[in-house]
Symmetry: C2
Subunit: 206 residues, 2 copies
Amino acid sequence: MIGNVNTQGKAPIGRPRGFDVDQALDRAMRVFWEQGYEGASLADLTDAMGISRTSMYAAFGSKEDLFHKALQRYTDGPAAYVPRALEKPTARQVATAFLDGCVRATTSPGCPAGCLGVQGSLAAGEAGLSARDTLAAWRNNGISLLRERFQRAVDEGDLPAGTDPGLLARYLMAVANGIAVQAAGGATRDDLHMVADMALRQWPPT
Amino acid sequence: MIGNVNTQGKAPIGRPRGFDVDQALDRAMRVFWEQGYEGASLADLTDAMGISRTSMYAAFGSKEDLFHKALQRYTDGPAAYVPRALEKPTARQVATAFLDGCVRATTSPGCPAGCLGVQGSLAAGEAGLSARDTLAAWRNNGISLLRERFQRAVDEGDLPAGTDPGLLARYLMAVANGIAVQAAGGATRDDLHMVADMALRQWPPT
DNA sequence: AGAAATCTGTATCGATCGGTACGGAAGTGG
DNA sequence: CCACTTCCGTACCGATCGATACAGATTTCT
């Protein structure tokens, strides 16, 4: 009855879904974020989502599918600071906004500490290998986005000629990942903000 | 029959152990390193150690005890670059040796990629909470060691007066953790060495 | 030799894992 | 009304989880 408005005009035939898919996905994202892919059991997930196993499988396919959809939601939600940072006018502002967004996202009150893209599945047994590889690709994609943005900055003269955009991108991502690890270990937002500032102190002059 | 030499002179009564404790612990450390605490099952561990479940429980107590002993072995082995770095004469050399050792340890051929202290249990379900907290404390202890060393450097005039040793320490640990995450995702040693160099480019002047 | 102590392999424990079969409930179309 | 479609709760699947009971094997001490 909730949240399944059919934009085609007609209501879908059959019994309507009894829960809000987006809300359930949000709850699942939190659980994966906090406990990791392997550490989150079906019982943990369905309890948090407020639905039964059957409903979860019918709506999302499998635990792995659910994880992928939760990661997509994470990308569009808590990790939306990444595309926003890429739009900043200068490379320095991109870097600053990226690390600032990372600090905020990994220390956000009411959300699990750390980054789903890091702690979701960093090392895993056989059951979690797929999730691990998915997250590694997710992080590498972030590096690629930063590299392309910094390449553009070099082409535009915003960064000095001869600057290695790939190195800047990997450096920033490494610092962000380190901030995420520290956040997962309980570091405060102020602590990590100072770390981010320090990491940018030697940014190439414009 | 192997490797249980009694340093007290007398052999212990009862049937002697049929395997080398240190070697078995080394194998277990590798499994935890590669698969994480929750991702490493008893079957994975005992298969790698070459012993039965019973022998493992008799010799090490429990999975959690085994993990603690494996972490201690990791501290004394692959992570021994930390105390070595702390002994360097200047703060800059400490920082350089620390990050260099981190890059080497997290990209060592024949060893799992990444750092056991990070990926052993970063996010976990109920079963892995103890391991997660243990590793967070382990990383925080590393920060404390660095901070104390940098405080000494400030006192000795090796670092400029007014330098925040705690910030330097947390910054270095964050970079090291980020390097470990990148290594777990497949970054090469050369990639990460350049990242480490860049992270030190703005180190306070001596 | 015989008692005592320790180690090892098998076989198993109850609990939980991810995933599913099935039937009734609840909505649509005619 | 009725046929049809879909959702949901229960109950259950085989497999695996960490951990253990037990008996036989192997060693030291007396």
